[in-house]
Symmetry: C2
Subunit: 135 residues, 2 copies
C-alpha cells in the first residue's frame, strides 16, 4: 500500500509539472478564475503581461477590476451565455490601466466541487503584427 | 491523516482537471513526448488535427514517424540544442501523409524522473488565414 501511495504521488507530481509547463509554454494568455468569487486563482506569464502587472500581484485579485465597465457578475453572465452552445463565450474588454482593447473568451468547468472559468485574452491586432514580422 | 489524504487527493484531481482543460482550451497544437523512447505520451486535439489522425491513434506512437527525414535522435538533438540558450528550439518538419510543412518548437523538462519534451506545432501560414477571416 505504501508503494502504491508513493507511485500515486509521483503521477500526481508529474501532472502538476505538466500543468505548470503548459501554462508557461502556451502562446495563449490564460487566466483561471473562481466563478463564485471572481478572483484570479492562476494566471500565466502572457496574461500578466497583458494586464501590465507582475504575476504575483494578480493572484487573488478580482479579474473584473482590471476591465472598464465590468463586474464579477457581468463577466460570469457573459461566460455563462455563449452565442453558440458548446462553444466558448467571447466578449470585448478594455484594460483600465492601458485602455487596450482585448477579446476575452472562456468557459466554465467544475474542479473539486468549485466552479472555475478558464479564460483566454487575445489582442485582435496581434495576428497582423505577427504577419509583418514574418515578411 | 485520512482527511489530509482525501484533501490531498482532491487538490491533485483539480490540477489534473486543469491540465486536461488547458490542453483542450489552448489554441496551440501541443504534443508531449518521452525523450528516451520518442513516443507520444499526450497530444491535444489541435495537434492531432495537424497530424490528420484521431488522438487515440497517436498516443504511444513515435512522433518522428510522422515527419519526413526525422528520427527520435534527430528530433531530440534539435530540441537539445536551441539556437539561443533558455529559449525553445525551433525546427521545420514536414508531415509525411500531407506534405504539410510545419514549425516545431519545444523544450525538455523532467517529470517523475523521466525526461519529457513539450512540443508545439505551428503552421507558418495560419496567421495570414486568421487575418483574412477577421476582415
Amino acid at each position: 500500500a505504501q508503494i502504491a501511495l508513493e507511485r500515486d504521488h509521483e503521477v500526481q507530481r508529474e501532472i502538476d509539472t505538466r500543468y505548470r509547463l503548459l501554462m508557461d509554454f502556451t502562446n495563449d494568455s490564460i487566466v483561471l478564475v473562481s466563478v463564485g468569487s471572481g478572483l484570479i486563482v492562476d494566471i500565466n506569464h502572457n496574461a500578466a503581461l497583458m494586464l501590465s502587472r507582475p504575476r504575483g500581484d494578480l493572484l487573488g485579485r478580482s479579474l473584473a477590476d482590471f476591465f472598464v465597465d465590468h463586474t464579477r457578475d457581468s463577466l460570469v453572465s457573459a461566460l455563462e451565455n455563449p452565442a453558440q452552445t458548446g462553444t466558448a463565450a467571447v466578449l470585448e474588454v478594455e484594460i483600465k490601466s492601458s485602455q487596450r482593447r482585448l477579446q476575452m473568451s472562456g468557459k466554465m468547468f467544475r474542479a473539486s466541487g468549485e466552479q472555475l472559468a478558464i479564460v483566454r485574452l487575445t489582442d485582435p491586432g496581434e495576428g497582423a503584427i505577427a504577419d509583418e514580422q514574418l515578411t
